[in-house]
Structure formats: structure tokens, C-alpha cells
Amino acid sequence: MAAELGDPCRKPLEQSDERIGRNRVRFGPPFRRVAVEVAAEPDPRIDVAERDAEFVRKLDEDGPKRRDPVLMMVRIKMRRVAPDEAPEAIELRRELGGSPCWRSLAAPCVLPSQPRETRPFELDVKPDRELRAFASVRCRIGSRVAVHHQARTRHDPALVRLDDPAVDAVAEPEVVGVHDEQSARIHVFKYPRGSHEREASLVAHRRQHSLDGVASVSPVLTEQDRRRAPLGTGPMRPALEWVSRTADLLWALTESDLRFRYGRGPWRFVRWLLEPVAIVGVYLFLVTFVLDKPGLAAGLSLACAVVPFQLVMLTIGNAMTALDARRPILLNMRLNRMLLPVSSALTEAVGFASSLLLVAFMMAAYQVAPTWSILWFPLVFVVNVLLAIAAAYAATLLGIWLRELRAFVLSFVRILFFVGPGLVALDETERGVRNLLKLNPMTGLFEAYRDVFLYGQRPAAWELAAPLATVVLLLAVFVPLYRAEQRQFAKVV
């Protein structure tokens, strides 16, 4: 839009001593005549702005006596205010006394008796500032600076100049939209605690910032998107945002997966419990009566192998079909697909928590009292979940590479139970094959569970190191492959 200025009020602007400074913005009386640029080929469906002849005539008649409010888009540049410039801001509202439109903005301190000031006055606009906040910017070279809301003080000038026409003359001009961003702390200061406005402001603020996740999935972020941040300030902000967003996403994916695979209601827990109970029952019968090798607390020993193995086994089964189960989502919207295997593992971990009741039941049945060694269980559990997650990345890939061999892959994994100390404890196996059995990553896990729940002792280092080494190996091999292949998942589901 071009503005044609033919008004006496323009003259002061043209005076050399009143020229608008490069780094300042002046609020002056609004320009009277606004020419409207009409498209060469007007679209009949769009209302074209027209000049109001009556309005212009009144303006001409009234001349400089009137000041009518005119809506117009302005570009506001903000900069820090030096301490010696601060008093200028205090004079603002006094300066505004004569104009009806300004009076409404500055009602509390209007001084009607003040003579109208025709000279355009200037004011350095200072935005809300993040207090006590410091941040370092990834690309900034070697310094931390205060976070300054709106101003580009956090940005490396070497990079800013590339796309800022004010800095770089050869850069393309940029249209600056209306600034409608709310300060991250405005709701703290503006509204009293407990008020409806404060709550609404907080909700709007969180909502506005929570949309960052959407923006972040776009290949190119806007400057405004980058500035929005839901969690605090400082150098940890991006990491906190990522953690919060990932946690929300994992929760939602896992929750939906649980309902999708296991339905709803309390019967889910019964179902999770029934499967390991049935397996332990069958194996207990096999070990006790068919093989006649009951050993020490055979039922509990079996449960200590079946429960962790079920977590890995079910996770692999889940991960192999994870893409098919989420096909509608994969085909409709962008999704962080790197989280799908983790979600599969978490889904089955919930079932795992239920099946732990079996271990408790067996301890009671065999009158094995818990000892302090049970405090090692969280560590053992973490290793178990990590093994499940690492296996899930491999399983997801194998699930799409070897679709027709999914059943075979599951059978192959099931072999790990039998070529390890699954049915009988490691101490009860032949001494000659023990070292071979230790090559099975599940061996250490089974024995760690037995140490914690059955033998009442601290797990040996190798029992946790062996599965962890497998985790590292699986992640090192399959995560890069997964990362490369996940780009194509939507094409093959």
C-alpha cells in the first residue's frame, strides 16, 4: 500500500532536524490521505477497499483541526534504552493529551489543559523483557547475553546480516507482520493472582507455546516460532522443550497403543497376568515332571526368566507390527517416527509391571523372603527395558524388510530363551556350556532377576554388562539404519 502525503502535517517530517532516526520510531499524527492501490485485475469475490469521498471531504474542510484515528500497519523497531533516555518515556502520556485517540490509550494521566503538540514526538519503544534470564545461542560466537524479548540481541550478527535487509543491502526485503506475540511473563505481572484474566492469559500462553512442536516439524521455522518457548529461559530451554514434547508424544502413543492392542478396563491386567502365568505353568510342569529337574524354587526361578523375556519378546512382536497399527496416522500427518520403537517397548512395559505380580506370588508360594538385594531391581529393570528398546528398533526394520518372515523372526527370538538358562538356572547347567550360554544376552538378565528375587544377592557385574553391551551393539547398528529408512515408512505401510 502506498501512502500519499499531501497534508500540512507532513511538513514537520520533512524538516531536517525532525528526520526519523535510523534506530528510533516516532509516533506522529496519522497521515490524512491514504491512497488505496487497487489490483489490475480485481477479483469480484473480494471486496475492494474504496476511498470514502465523504470522509476525505471532511478532512479537507476541517484541515489540521481534526485528528481522526486511522488504522495503519507500522513497523516497530525496538532497541535497548540507555539509562539517560528513560525520562523521555515518562513524558509520553503528557504529550498525548490533545488527541482523542491517544487520550483513550493514556487515560490515567491525560492532562487536558496541556497545549496540543503538533510536532511529532519520539519514543523509544522497549518491549517486555525476560527478567533474570540469560541464554546462549547455538550459533553465537563465544558469548552469553541477556535474553531480550523481540530484539535480536541473542542472534549472531554474522548470521543475521544474511537475511536482514537493514543490515545486508543485497538481502531481499521482508514483509513484517503485525506483532501480536505475548510476553512470556505478561500474565505474571498484568493480572492479579487468581483472576479469570490471569488464568485465561496463562492458558493462551501455554497454548501458544505448546504449538512450537508443530512449528518445529516444519522444515523452516519462522522467527516468531523460534522465539516461542514453553519452558523457562536460558540455555536449557531447547532441551526442556524437547523433553516435554517427547514425553507428551510417548505418553499419547503408548496410551493409544495399549488401548488398541489390549482394550480398556481392568481386564487388561488380568490378560497381562494370564500369559506369563500360563507359560510358567507349562514350563513348571515340563521341568518338574517331564525333565525331573526341579532345582531350587523351580516356579520362582522360571518366573525370573519368563517375566523379563516376555518383555523383550512382546516388544519385538509389537514393534514388528507398529507401523501397520499406526498406518492412518503415518499417512496423514508428520510424526516423529524415531519414537515408535520406544513406544512399543513402553506399551509392553506396562504389561510387564502387571506380570511382576507373578514373581511376588511365587516368592510367597516358595516362602522366599525379600532381602535388601531387591533394591537392585530398578537397575535390572532399566537394563531390561533398554534391551527391549534396542531390540524394538531392529524388529521394526525387520518387520518391514521381512514381512513374510515375521513369524520366523519371532521363533528365532524365542530360541534365546531355550539356549539360555531359561528353564533351569545357570548354576544347574553343565559347567562346560556355561561360558557359551553367557554369550546369550538374556542369560545375564535371567540371572540378575534370580539374584534379586531368588538368591537375595547383588547381581554380578557381567549379568548387567552383557545385556548392556548388546544394547549398545543393537543401537549402533540399527538406529542409523532406522533413521535412514523411517523417511520412507509412509510409502510402504
Binding site: 505448546s210 514434547r245 507428551d248 499419547a252 493409544s256 500427518m333 523417511r487
Partner: protein, 244 residues
């Protein structure tokens, strides 16, 4: 703002003509490849409603999926500024065994809202979708129009700046068509972008002032809707009369 430069999307097929990933293609030996999109270039600015027209298999859906981030370009460059909401099928990303409420929560979180925000907003989604008691039933029991309405209500909750529609509006009833038109016009007035594909040209003309005619994965013509659409229809009639 959307700027596409020589965007190409490639599909790999194995010997059984099933689409596979490049990794699987290497793993199982050589198959065949085809380009779903090739050298597609355009630029869409703020406040622009754009229709993708063309025959079935011309690449409309593929292009929308690329814009939504579902497919990643195998060639070229795509720059998108703004939050994207997509309704690329009548399924609208809904999982059939989950209820409307559960689906809304899931899609909202995947779309970028925090879980807490989405939990608070779920009632407004329910109201906007006008599903009533069906909101608590599995999506499996929904008609196509009900699914589209739920997807639309969730998409609106995301407050997108870019809206992608792929024939979804064609499953909507008249009431929701009007609602969609109104929403799209408000988006455009705010400087948003609406890109819609389909064969319902009167509906497209109400949403879009520009049309991109796709054929064989490439852009045939790009210009005002009133210009491009008649040419496309003329080409279709010409092809039909010549027996092609």
C-alpha cells in the same frame, strides 16, 4: 509460505511389485523405481488458496503428503513456513479401535499441542465436531463424514497456518462444507494458506483462487483457477473424445 524447488518423490518396487524402502531394495536385490513426483516447482504465498487438480494418479495426494511431511522429498528442496494441519484421507488419521475422544487426544498431541492443553480442549473439539454421544464410541462405527468432521475439529484446534485437504471435503455434508468454507476463508484472510485437492471443482473454486494442474507427477499448468480449470476440463474432454 511454501516454496518447492524441483521436488521429486521416488517409489521403489521389488520383484513382486510391492513398494519397498530403499534399504529393502538393496537387501533383496534390484527391483524397479518410479517417480511419483518429478521436478515439481511452485511457490505459494500467504493468503493464497490453491487447488490441485488433475486426473487420478497424477500426483495430487503425493504432493499433499510431501507438503504435510508424511513423505520426504527424494529430490529437490521444499521450504515451508508455518504450522501445518492435514486431512489427507477420509480416515483423517483416526485409529479405528479408539474412540473419538481418544483419537482427538492422540492427534492433537501428535499435531503439536501439549497433552495438558489437549485434555482441556477436548470438550471444544467434541462440540465443534457435533458428534454428540458418538464421540465416546469407537471410530470404527463412524461414517466417512463423521470421521472427516472429527478430523476437521481436531485440525481447527491446532490453529494451523497451512491447511491441506485431500478430497476430505467431498465426504462432508452440506452443513460441514459450509463450516469448512468459512474456516478456510478466515484462514486465508489471516494470511494462511489452504491447499485442496479433489475432483469437486465447484467446491475447490470456493476455496481457491489459484490452481495447479498436475499430470504424471509434473506440473502441467499453474495459474488462476478460472483459467487453469477450464483448460484442464477441455483437455479431459479432448482425451475422452479421442479415446485416450
Amino acid at each position: 509460505m511454501i516454496v518447492a524447488t524441483a521436488v521429486g518423490v521416488q517409489f521403489f518396487f521389488n520383484r513382486h511389485l510391492r513398494v519397498v524402502t530403499p534399504g529393502e531394495a538393496r537387501l533383496r536385490g534390484h527391483g524397479t523405481t518410479t517417480w511419483g513426483l518429478r521436478d515439481v516447482a511452485f511457490s505459494i504465498g500467504s493468503g493464497e488458496g490453491t487447488a490441485l487438480i488433475g486426473p487420478s494418479g497424477s500426483g495430487k495426494t503425493t504432493l499433499l503428503r510431501v507438503l504435510a511431511g508424511v513423505y520426504e522429498p527424494d529430490h529437490g528442496q521444499l521450504k515451508i513456513r508455518g504450522r501445518v494441519a492435514s486431512l489427507l484421507s477420509v480416515e483423517a488419521g483416526l485409529m479405528s479401535l479408539l474412540t473419538g475422544r481418544e483419537n482427538a487426544l492422540l492427534l492433537g498431541v501428535i499435531g503439536g499441542l501439549s497433552r495438558r492443553t489437549m485434555v482441556r480442549a477436548i470438550e471444544s473439539v467434541k462440540g465443534r465436531s457435533a458428534l454428540g454421544d458418538a464421540f465416546e464410541r469407537p471410530v470404527l462405527t463412524y461414517s466417512q463424514g463423521m470421521r472427516a468432521r472429527l478430523g476437521l475439529a481436531v485440525a481447527e484446534e491446532l490453529e494451523p497456518q497451512i491447511l491441506l485437504l485431500d478430497e476430505v471435503h467431498e465426504a462432508l455434508d452440506h452443513e460441514f462444507r459450509a463450516f469448512l468454507q468459512d474456516w478456510a476463508h478466515r484462514m486465508l484472510a489471516r494470511g494462511g494458506i489452504v491447499i485442496a485437492a479433489g475432483h469437486d471443482h465447484p467446491m475447490l473454486s470456493s476455496l481457491c483462487t489459484r490452481a495447479i494442474w498436475l499430470d504424471g507427477g509434473s506440473v502441467c499448468e499453474d495459474g488462476p483457477f478460472d483459467v487453469v480449470q477450464p483448460r484442464y476440463l477441455a483437455a479431459v474432454r479432448e482425451g475422452a473424445s479421442s479415446g485416450v
